[in-house]
């Protein structure tokens, strides 16, 4: 028979076991968000296709046609879309998980479950959109007759990295949002700026060599470069930058869990 002791500052011991026990809730919350997301919309899931497609067209126009940036021989739309794939995933997951705790406030103040379930399920929901976009990517590559090399086998690794980045950042923002609703306004800014300072609309090869390590402090640089390297296979991956990004992601995710766990116990009182 399980014995639970409730005390201030004490829930660590059974926490991870609880998280495992509530893994189905994870699934149900993600399932709910997916079911609900396109209800009462006319074109439904098509939004998951149209949004990235339009963004891709705009970015291709600005960076490829107007700024005439170097794509390294890759068709510009493919270069852009390949960057957008992880970026959109990050941006959606970041926004959704950031808002997730507050929009589930009712549940949090009335039922116990490991709160980590909520932001995780938001990241999973966004991952479904990512999968839809991936299909689009594949179709585009077929259209341009651009087939990936063996490096594509490394793609799952970079998907994992993207997942970790989104999750870590989501943890921070969701926990902070509970107390400081200011983040509701900060979030869209981060996403908007991020689109332009991350190598989404251009290749990070345009960044001068001596500054690339600095540029890689943005973890999404490593993720996006990794995607391009794995799918397009042309440019060589800038490894030092990649490792800086990996270290950055590790830091974000560990500190995110730490901060989340630390503040989690008071969510119900503050939310």
């Amino acid at each position: 028979m399980s014995e639970i002791i409730i005390e201030q500052g004490r829930s660590e011991r059974q926490y991870w076991r609880d998280l495992w026990r509530y893994r189905e809730l994870l699934y149900f919350l993600a399932w709910r968000d997916i079911l609900v997301r396109y209800k009462q919309t006319v074109i439904g899931v098509a939004w998951a296709v149209i949004r990235p497609l339009l963004t891709m067209l705009v970015l291709t126009f600005i960076f490829g046609k107007l700024a005439k940036m170097d794509s390294g021989g890759v068709p510009y739309p493919i270069l852009v879309f390949c960057g957008m794939l992880p970026w959109q995933f990050f941006a959606n997951a970041f926004t959704e998980s950031g808002n997730s705790l507050v929009s589930n406030a009712g549940m949090i103040s009335k039922v116990y479950f490991p709160r980590l379930v909520v932001p995780i399920s938001s990241v999973i929901t966004s991952f479904v959109d990512f999968l839809i976009s991936s299909v689009l990517m594949a179709l585009m590559m077929v259209y341009y007759g651009y087939l990936p090399g063996a490096s594509v086998l490394m793609l799952p690794l970079f998907i994992l990295l993207a997942f970790a980045t989104a999750f870590g950042a989501g943890l921070w923002v969701s926990a902070l949002m509970v107390r400081y609703r200011d983040f509701r306004f900060i979030l869209p800014f981060v996403v908007q700026f991020g689109l332009y300072i991350s190598p989404v609309g251009f290749s990070s090869n345009v960044v001068p060599e001596q500054w690339r390590w600095l540029y890689s402090l943005n973890p999404m640089v490593g993720v996006i470069d990794g995607f391009r390297w794995a799918i397009l296979g042309q440019q060589n991956l800038y490894w030092p930058g990649f490792w800086i990004s990996v270290a950055g992601v590790a830091l974000i995710i560990l500190s995110g869990i730490w901060y989340f766990r630390r503040t989690e116990r008071t969510f119900a009182d503050v939310i």
């Binding site: 409730i6 549940m107 901060y259 630390r262």
Partner: protein, 423 residues
């Protein structure tokens, strides 16, 4: 069977309240602090230490043992700490001091239909809600038909719940929760909704859960008959403390006799108040002239209205003024004022109370609303409209066996008078 399944030791929960708390909490303030002491803001303790926050102890030093298979009712007026206790038991929030030891799986039903999504169908919500309450998918699937039958929503299973009537909604929500199989079931005032017949069904289900299946049930309710019928043991809470614990009928009798009618809520929990808040009214009690609590005042009896207050720590406020106003149907009948009744100056510090003695209570039978105004240092400190209800019964005001003429109610206040006849 006498092994306790829940042990509670010295359990307390403190909330920070008041305007001060908000000030030290804003992002701007935190950023300011971050510049001065980087990273200190990440520690919740340091955030609490800063500034003078007011504390509110929702629960104070609770000790309790509950045995396996017991069905325990918890009663007490609003703000007595019942819901806080349940929240602690359900692990929604953590205690400030003390500990709870649970020897079994807990499921709590603090609200009907938590996590229901209006866009989803009844079927989908059963799965969603079940998993939120801690059921596994297999468990829900196994009980699915039972839940649907209990909720009586067969026909609407695939309709979004936003199209449900409120009765159907409640039935479905309760049905899911009723089919949980925890060792400990915690239920907070959820029977207040739904029609009478369904309430009866729910009560029956809970009784089954407790007696037939041997589970432990903790039930909070304002409905005394429900508690009376279901629970063998009852706990009365008052201002965060355990007031009485024993046989249900005894505790309920004690509760009803104590005059809890008077203050319809613990005033320290009221948020609909105005004033600076340096001193606050914390409670109003109705007493007889020897200081015993009254449920209601009787016309002609001697009555004490006790107004308890608290002043912010370390402050002494001068120029105090306390005014009570008793009204009915928006018409004021009585005004009581510390400034009028005496030349003494009211000085406020720490916790204390002011007793207003009203000899020969002059109101006619009925329900009166009491509003309170507390001023000090030339500023309003606390203003609460309808802070309490004072029920009055007709009494022998004149010592003549009569109280008032028909039609006087709501129009008159009684004053002692006599008459003489001359010629």
């Amino acid at each position: 069977m006498s092994e306790s399944i829940i042990s509670v030791e010295n359990l307390s929960k403190c909330y920070k309240i008041g305007r001060q708390a908000a000030k030290g909490d804003g992002l701007r303030h935190v950023l300011e602090q971050a510049v001065r002491a980087p990273f200190a803001w990440l520690r919740p303790e340091s955030r609490e230490k800063r500034g003078k926050t007011e504390e509110f102890w929702a629960l104070r030093g609770l000790d309790l043992e509950i045995e396996r298979g017991q069905m325990v009712g918890i009663i007490g007026r609003n703000g007595a700490g019942k819901s806080t206790f349940l929240k602690l038991l359900s692990r929604i929030t953590e205690p400030t001091t003390g500990r709870i030891r649970l020897r079994g799986r807990v499921a709590s039903l603090l609200e009907v239909g938590t996590g229901f999504h209006p866009e989803l169908t009844g079927r989908e919500n059963i799965f969603l809600n079940g998993s939120i309450l801690g059921m596994s998918r297999a468990e829900i699937q196994r009980k699915f038909d039972e839940i649907v039958a209990f909720a009586e929503i067969n026909k609407f299973l695939d309709t979004p719940v936003k199209r449900y009537s409120s009765g159907m909604y409640v039935r479905l929500a309760f049905a899911v929760a009723a089919h949980l199989e925890p060792e400990i079931l915690i239920v907070d005032e959820v029977l207040a909704v739904g029609d009478a017949e369904f309430q009866k069904k729910c009560l029956g289900k809970m009784e089954d859960v407790s007696t037939k299946e041997g589970r432990t049930v903790i039930l909070v309710s304002h409905q005394m008959p429900a508690i009376q019928n279901l629970c063998t043991r009852c706990i009365l809470m008052d201002r965060g403390q355990l007031q009485q614990d024993g046989k249900t009928s005894d505790v309920i009798a004690g509760y009803l006799a104590k005059g809890h009618e008077l203050a319809s809520g613990d005033l320290s929990q009221r948020t609909d108040r105005a004033g600076k808040g340096r001193a606050r009214v914390t409670g109003i009690d109705l007493l007889d002239s020897s200081g015993n609590p009254l449920v209601e005042a009787a016309s002609g009896g001697d009555v004490i209205l006790r107004v308890s207050y608290e002043v912010r720590q370390g402050e002494t406020l001068k120029g105090g003024l306390l005014v009570l106003d008793l009204s009915s149907d928006l018409k004021s009948f009585i005004g009581l004022s510390t400034a009028l009744a005496s030349k003494r100056e009211l000085q406020l510090s720490g916790d204390g109370y002011v007793d207003f003695l009203v000899p020969k209570w002059p109101l006619l039978g009925g329900r009166y609303s009491l509003s309170v105004y507390l001023e000090a240092e030339g500023e309003a400190q606390d203003v609460i409209d309808d802070a309490a209800i004072v029920d009055t019964v007709d009494g022998d005001f004149f010592g003549s066996g009569k109280s008032h003429h028909k039609g006087w109610h709501g129009e008159y206040v009684l004053v002692p008078h006599s008459w003489d006849q001359g010629s």
